[in-house]
Structure formats: structure tokens, C-alpha cells
Symmetry: C2
Subunit: 190 residues, 2 copies
């Protein structure tokens, strides 16, 4: 299995990984091998970070009880306009919670966490895995991150930033309607 994935990975170029990635919210039963999980985390730590602080910590969640608790936390804090995106599907995924050390983040906790999350998601795509970005932070509402921190036993020095479920997709993502590039590109000023 690992051999097959390595072979596939060597063939996927970056452009295809970028263009083909879609947010996946339905996962199959096939378990992601631990070697693949480690490989994705290994790549994620090559993200840039403020003053090269490399502030990341990765908490991998597989246990059903922990996943259920995460679903409850995310659903409880889900704003009403985002209810269509409830978190129930987390129970079928492997999850990595991307955290950062405050001290090592140099005032850039969210940026540093998200940069690693983006790499994780592309690297997962290369392995045939689906992902979706979910946030562990709510501006002005510390309850979400506090409850996640308690669940994952994070010390006070560590902040959870992103929750990335991943696994073998059990859905074909819809074609995404894209905004026109010329509509969003500006030269010299807006």
C-alpha cells in the first residue's frame, strides 16, 4: 500500500494537486495508514513560519470518543448561517488538529497554523486523500478554542488553529464555479 501511494505521489504534479483539490465531507471506511499520516505531517512542517519559529504541533485524532466530542464542540459553536456545513462527518475521518506554540509564533499564530494546514491539504490530495479546512478559532469568541484545548489536553502555551479531517473520499465533489481571474486581478492598485 505504501509503495503504491509513493508511486502515485511521484506522478502527481503540483498544478494538478492544486486544481483537483475539493473540500470533502464524506469519507469511506478505508483507514489511512499511519505511514501516510506521518508523511503528511512531515511535509506540513516545511511550511514557512514567522521568524522561522516552526511553532507547529499536530494532534492526530482517531478514537471514536474524541471525534464525537469534537463533532459536538464544532456543532455547538456553528453560526446559524453555516448550519448546512455541520461537523457530523468528522466521525468517519481521521483528524489532525494543527496547533501552534504561542511563544514560537511571534504574533502570527493563525497565519503560521494556516500555512501548515494548506500544505497538509495539498499533500493529502497527492495521496488520493480528501480533506476540508475547519477552524478551531472564532474571532472574539474564545469558547471554541478553549473547549478544543480542554479535549486535546493542550497546555496553555499551545493554541489550536485548524481542524483538518482527512480520508479516502466517499463522494465526488461537485464542479466548482470559479470567479473569473480578470474580475479579481488588479495591477498597481485596486
Amino acid at each position: 500500500m505504501v509503495t503504491r501511494v509513493r508511486y502515485k505521489a511521484a506522478e502527481v504534479n503540483l498544478q494538478d494537486a492544486i486544481r483537483q483539490r475539493r473540500s470533502i465531507r464524506k469519507y469511506g471506511e478505508h483507514r489511512v495508514k499511519e505511514a501516510i499520516v506521518r508523511r503528511l505531517l512531515d511535509l506540513s512542517r516545511y511550511a514557512p513560519s514567522s521568524m522561522n519559529g516552526q511553532p507547529w504541533h499536530f494532534v492526530v485524532v482517531r478514537h471514536s470518543a474524541t471525534k464525537k466530542a469534537l463533532v459536538q464542540i464544532k456543532n455547538r459553536h456553528c453560526p446559524s448561517k453555516k448550519k448546512a456545513y455541520n461537523a457530523d462527518f468528522l466521525k468517519d475521518a481521521t483528524i489532525v488538529v494543527i496547533c501552534v506554540e504561542k511563544e514560537r509564533s511571534h504574533g502570527r499564530a493563525i497565519e503560521n497554523g494556516v500555512l501548515a494546514a494548506a500544505i497538509f491539504m495539498l499533500a493529502a490530495q497527492e495521496c488520493g486523500l480528501g480533506t476540508v479546512y475547519m477552524s478551531a478559532q472564532q474571532k472574539g469568541k474564545p469558547a471554541l478554542k478553549k473547549e478544543i484545548s480542554r479535549l486535546l489536553r493542550l497546555p496553555n502555551s499551545i493554541l489550536p488553529i485548524a481542524i483538518i479531517p482527512f480520508g479516502y473520499p466517499a463522494e465526488v465533489a461537485q464542479k466548482k464555479e470559479m470567479r473569473e481571474l480578470k474580475e479579481i486581478t488588479h495591477f498597481e492598485h485596486f
Copy 2:
């Protein structure tokens, strides 16, 4: 030139782009062709975004006067502990300022902006271009983003998130000492 870059790009796999990327703060004189700039922006808009809002706007800066003004703004707001990372080198780069529409960001302005920035940086790496992540935001200090917004004539509905200089590297980045993966990986809880 475009043909050569396309050929190179098809050969670079994602893993290599991730592992080989380094922050570059010294750029050569060779101008980045506009076709390459557009290609990088085209790929960046494939980033995930909250509720698929696709909130991005890209402002490409090439004019010397605008770059000098950006250098001054960034240096003026540079915290004393980051003085070693001053922004003077921006004058030698092409710059993209990645912005987001507030309305389309669904409370996730920074996350959405950074996800596109991460893709831009990897795609640039694939084309043999260096980049470095610089922030257009300072927590609790709106002056930085306000001055950037004024310079780039951003409407009030648009927030600048990241400043990404890019170009052909004129330095070989030092080998990066990496934290051990096992030191930062946790299973089920911290």
C-alpha cells in the same frame, strides 16, 4: 521562456516543491513574465475558502514608487525584535498583495487569505521563483492594514492580508534546521 517554465513545472512534483521552498529575501533583475504572474494567480484562486466564498483579490505591484511606499510602510510597522527582517528587498521583487472581500470571507478573512498565499508560494516555487510570506495585518494595530489599503486604493469592503514578494532568487537559502517530527506529533491528545 514560457515554454521552458511550463516544461519545468510539469516535472516538479508536489513533495519537492514543499521541501525545497525557502523564504527568499534577495531577488535578481530578471523580470517575471506577466504570463507567469497570471498563472500563479490562476492557481491561487483554487484555494479552499469559507463557504466557498472565493473572497480573493490580487493586487500585483511592479512600479518602483509603489514598492518604495510599501517598504516604508512595512519598515515603519516592523516590531523591534523583527528588525533583522526589514522590507528593503521588496524594491527588487514583483509583489502580490493578497486581499479578501469581507462579505465573502464569512468571518474568516485571514484564514482565506493565507490559504491562497500558501498555494501562490508553492506554485511560484514550481516555476523556479522565490517568495517570502509577509503580513499586511497586525493584531490590535489597524495602522498597517490602513496604510496599505490607502496605498493600493482598496475600497472599505476589501482587506489586505498578505504581501508576497516574488522573483528569481539571487541568494541560496541556508539549510533550515527542522524540529524533529516526533517532538511535535501527538496522538489523541497532547
